[in-house]
Structure formats: C-alpha cells, structure tokens
C-alpha cells in the first residue's frame, strides 16, 4: 500500500462509513416489501461496502473478512436458497415457487406465507448478488492474481 498522508482521511472515513453502508443494505432488503428496494439493490449496496474496504485498505483486508472460498460458497448458497424455497411446495402437492403452500410448514395463513416466501427468495438473491459483485470486482481489478499482487505489495514492488 502506498504510504501517503491522504490515506488517513480515506481510511478513517471508510472505517466510519462501512457499518452504516452495511446497515443501510439490510434496511433496503427488509424494507423492500413496502418501499423501493429488495434483493438486487441490497446485494449491490452490501457488495459496495466490501469494495470500499478493498479500495481504502487493500484486497487482503477485505479477504480477512470474507475469504475467497467463503465468497464462492455464498455465490452458490443464494441460488440454493431460492431454488429450495421453490421446491418446498412440491412436497405438499403445490406448484414450483407457489409460496402459499409454505403455510403448511409455518404458522401462517396463505397470504402471509406468500409475503414471507418473497422475503426468503429475496434473501437468496441478495446473497448471490453480493458475492458475485465482490468476486467480479476482485478478479477484474487484479486480473485474477490476488495473492501474488498482495505479496508484491509486501515486498515493496508497486504494480
């Protein structure tokens, strides 16, 4: 990392802003039912917080919080949550992605089952979008060579 005095301002502001950004992404996801928002937007904002860590500190700092393997797991987990929520109604003779049959597993009436089914599905979308955005950013910025670039930085080679 380049050592110059501007770093202090950027890092302090980033450290202050990152929790607020992550909280705001949760707000956008949870409030998506009654205001503009939802999985895609929340996922992008959550990914933006990790991208801000990568920009203000370095990619190694972001990977201490969310390692590459965990990120890959999240990419699949989101799609799995979505597809599994769709599969559950099949067990009680419903249609694929027909959330009102979730009321037989949860203590809800069919309308509220659809309400919370949508929330579950949006959670899956949010996780996938977040993980894919982070991995896209990290791979495209470093051309897929995170580790060797970090090692060069430690040895003082600036690429």
């Amino acid at each position: 990392m380049v050592k110059d005095p501007d770093d202090i301002i950027v890092r302090t502001v980033a450290r202050f802003m990152i929790p607020i950004i992550q909280l705001f992404s949760l707000y956008v996801y949870v409030h998506g039912h009654i205001s503009p928002g939802g999985g895609f937007q929340g996922g992008c904002i959550l990914a933006a917080s990790f991208i801000l860590i990568s920009l203000a500190f370095n990619i190694g700092e972001a990977k201490k919080i969310l390692s590459g393997r965990k990120n890959l797991l999240f990419i699949g987990l989101g799609v799995f949550i979505y597809a599994f929520t769709g599969l559950v109604p099949l067990f009680v003779q419903g249609n694929f992605l027909d959330y009102q049959h979730l009321s037989q597993f949860l203590p809800l009436d069919p309308v509220m089952a659809r309400y919370y089914g949508v929330a579950l599905v949006e959670l899956g979308v949010q996780i996938t979008v977040m993980a894919v955005m982070i991995s896209l950013f990290q791979d495209l910025v470093t051309a897929g060579r995170h580790e060797s670039i970090l090692k060069d930085r430690e040895n003082g080679i600036d690429r």
């Binding site: 009654i34 503009p36 939802g38 955005m133 896209l136 495209l140 051309a143 897929g144």
Partner: protein
C-alpha cells in the same frame, strides 16, 4: 411535430441505441466496443421504463388505507420496472464476462486493438 413532441422518449432511445450500435460496429478498440454495448443496453432499459409511465399516476406502491379500492389507473405500470430490474443485473454480468475476456485477450496478445489481434492471429 406531433410525432416528435408526444413521442420524445422514443426519439431519445433511438439516438442512444444508434450511438451504441455505432460504437459496437465501427470502433476497433475492444474496450470501446464494451462501452458501446453498455450504451445499447441502457437505451433498451430507458425505452422499457418510459413505456411504464402513465399520466396522473404515481409509483407502483399501494398507498396505505386504500387497499380495498385499488384503481390500476392510479399507479404506473410495474411490469417494465420488474423486467428492467433483472435486465440491469444481467447487464452487469455480461459486462463482467466481457471485461474478463478482454483481460484474457490482453494477456495473450498484449493489446486490445482489434487490428493488431487480427494481425497476430494471421501470423500464427
């Protein structure tokens, strides 16, 4: 004149789509081609969003207290918004893959100019 004033949204998207198409067809730099592709995508997105508009209507969120007598004319058309919400994210995905392919091309040929890549391909 009526054709232009009442249909200005279509004219705007046509100008954008032509800029994107020109960029994709004529520019020889792969990065500029990707930018052209993005402008093309966004012109389609703006076209769909402009279709959703209705005069005298508000955003498609049902106002609290009027749930029992919802009139469709009071809310703009939500369907283009939904389709374009997915299209935006798919656009990001295609842009990401395009950039990855450009990085691979640069690794192999050390250039992203189309002419030089074709020259290098002919030499092999």
């Amino acid at each position: 004149m009526e054709l232009i004033v009442s249909k200005f949204n279509y004219w705007a998207y046509i100008v954008m789509i032509l800029v994107g198409l020109y960029g994709m067809m004529v520019k020889r730099n792969l990065m500029k081609k990707v930018i052209g592709m993005n402008i093309f995508q966004w012109s389609i997105i703006l076209f769909f969003i402009s279709i959703g508009a209705k005069k005298g209507a508000t955003v498609p969120i049902i106002i609290k207290g009027t749930e029992h007598a919802v009139k469709a004319a009071d809310y703009i058309n939500p369907l283009p918004h939904v389709l374009m919400l997915t299209a935006i994210v798919v656009g990001v995905a295609t842009t990401g893959i395009a950039l990855a392919l450009i990085i691979l091309a640069y690794r192999r040929y050390r250039t992203i100019e189309e002419d030089r890549i074709i020259e290098a391909l002919k030499k092999r």
